[in-house]
């Protein structure tokens, strides 16, 4: 059993206490997607503006635990100005980092070679979450919601 310090790293608490890119864009023109975690009642609302396949701006609102909020905040920082393809790649890598416990039967294919070199940066701080399997869904909530949003736009 790992200690709390593995979970609640200072940088995570910082994102939780001072979330980045908080708010809501007008939608339309921005795209709006909601996600929720039935386990703990967390809700996230993403609004983002997409232009030429680039995320021009993404804002976050909603409510939830420190992990889901911090992960959303970090994500918001990481995806600004990135192309959809880059965002999908980043998401795959982030989820790979989270999914140590998903390697049971029927798990998806491991990330392919070309996914490797990407830099997770601050997001690495969330690695400790995998030691607390119950919290993995908190950490991935905003990411899955963003994927849903992109799928809705068929990009």
């Amino acid at each position: 059993m790992s200690g709390l310090e593995d979970l609640y790293k200072e940088i995570i608490l910082d994102h939780y206490r001072s979330p980045r890119h908080r708010g809501e864009l007008d939608s339309p023109p921005a795209h709006k997607t909601e996600g929720f975690n039935p386990l703990c009642g967390d809700e996230v609302l993403l609004t983002f503006a997409l232009e030429d396949d680039i995320i021009q701006e993404l804002l976050i609102s909603g409510q939830g635990c420190s992990i889901s909020q911090a992960s959303a905040s970090m994500m918001s920082a990481a995806v600004q100005g990135k192309s959809v393809e880059e965002v999908r790649k980043l998401t795959r890598q982030f989820k790979a980092m989270m999914s140590i416990h998903e390697e049971s039967i029927g798990a998806e294919d491991p990330p392919s070679e070309d996914d490797k070199p990407f830099e997770l940066g601050d997001l690495e701080a969330l690695k400790g979450v995998v030691k607390f399997p119950v919290r993995i869904k908190c950490a991935t909530l905003s990411w899955n919601t963003l994927l849903t949003g992109l799928d809705e736009l068929e990009v």
Binding site: M1, R17, S18, G41, S66
Partner: protein, 409 residues
């Protein structure tokens, strides 16, 4: 009389340490711990008389059947039922509600009918009605709450209009509220409606008498009352159960099967299709014996005392920083404390407490409509049972402050 002070020693799990701390288990509303005697009773069954019941002429099969039927009789006595035949074993309280909805509801509910539940119901007493309502077109109506977490019965007469079934929890698993079941039952009966009661949080904690409650049907679940997982109970008045069609079909629940149809068995077998949860029934019988040996009045008194203590300690220490949902008077509630502490998210609070070996539950507690009423996504819930003591409450109270520090924005 009060509960023995060394009761914890009967519960092997409570001697565990978690992260170097003696475990403080405050999640009995989700599932209780099991005393040695319940675990041992099931072991003994598997090691000495394990065999399928009701159909075997040989010695151990007869003993297994006898042990199972004795447990049924114990359950009947425990809740004041007039016959063991009125005790139907299911897999959990959820199945019991589905049985009522599908069997009674399937036969008796149509487009102009109403089932009256309440805003504080567990999903087990909501979703089965919603599933059936989508098929049959009846209305599911909701008794609202008062601001202090009671049922608002001021409009009950109006709400009862067109109602054929009232199905309400005797105690909320989130607020702890004890509801005036008898009063509601009397009103329900006066308009010709039936009264079903969710006893999942009540039967484990208070002396229960189905006649005094005025109930027609009662659902509860073994794992919250010192019993094993995999076992639930439906009690119903015999005439009512007799008139209801079977629910699940299969072995045991028939008198005869022909190519062109089947003849259902008598109560209680009519509702017990397939091999029953034999070990679990026998284990639940041992749990009932255990609770009886403590005395349910003593159990209730213990929980009132401990709830009072918890309300006092937490409010004294944290004042404005803490909100405890539900009635403020311990005599009107059970030992279920849904806590909002500063702006610490329940999930984070529970994580920090776990680090100190304290187990509480964070979430919607399978009561999402209630969560929406309370205006929260989740609560942090500490819940009490026979083995808890003031030291457990003290540990809880001690640990809130550091959690507050960690997450202060």
């Amino acid at each position: 009389m009060s509960l023995p002070s060394d009761l914890k020693s009967n519960f092997p799990l409570l001697s565990q340490t978690i992260n170097g701390h003696q475990i403080v288990y405050l999640d009995s509303a989700a599932s209780s711990q099991k005393p040695d005697v319940v675990i041992e009773t099931m072991n003994h069954y598997y090691r000495t008389i394990n065999a399928n019941v009701h159909r075997g002429a040989y010695e151990i099969a007869a003993q297994a059947t006898e042990a199972m039927e004795q447990a049924r009789a114990k359950l009947a006595t425990f809740i004041g039922a007039s016959s063991a035949n009125e005790i139907v074993f299911t897999k959990n309280a959820t199945e019991s509600f589905n049985l009522i909805a599908r069997s009674w509801g399937g036969q008796n509910l149509g487009p102009n009918d109403v089932v009256l539940i309440s805003d504080m119901e567990h999903h087990a007493n909501i979703v089965p009605w919603q599933i059936l309502s989508a098929e049959k077109g009846f209305e599911v109506r909701w008794i609202p709450l008062t601001p202090d977490g009671h049922l608002d019965l001021s409009q009950l007469d109006r709400l009862l209009n067109g109602v054929k079934m009232v199905s309400v929890t005797a105690m909320s698993n989130v607020l702890g509220t004890l509801n005036p079941i008898r009063e509601i039952a009397d009103k329900a009966h006066s308009v010709g409606a039936l009264m079903a009661v969710d006893g999942s949080q009540y039967v484990p904690h208070l002396p229960t008498d189905v006649v005094e409650l005025g109930a027609d049907l009662l659902c509860f679940t073994g794992h919250k009352m010192c019993g094993p997982t995999g076992i639930g109970v439906l009690w119903g008045r015999a005439e009512l159960l007799d008139a209801m069609p079977p629910f699940l079909g299969g072995g045991e629940m028939i008198l005869d099967v022909r190519r062109d149809g089947f003849t259902p068995n008598e109560l209680p077998h009519k509702f017990e299709a397939g091999t029953p949860p034999i070990a679990e029934i026998i284990g639940l019988g041992a749990a009932v014996d255990f609770l009886d040996s403590l005395g349910m009045s003593e159990v209730r008194q213990h929980e009132i005392d401990l709830t009072n203590y918890a309300l006092r300690v937490l409010n004294d220490r944290y004042g404005e920083e803490i909100t405890i949902h539900g009635p403020s008077n311990a005599s009107e509630r059970g030992g279920v404390l849904s806590i909002q502490y500063r702006d610490v998210h329940p999930h984070d609070l529970s994580q920090v407490l776990d680090q100190r070996g304290i187990c509480i539950r964070a979430g919607h507690h399978c009561a999402k409509p209630l969560m929406r009423e309370l205006g929260v996504g989740a609560t942090a819930r500490a819940s009490l049972y026979v083995y808890n003591d003031q030291a457990d409450i003290d540990a809880l109270a001690e640990s809130l402050a550091p959690a507050g520090e960690l997450f202060a924005r």
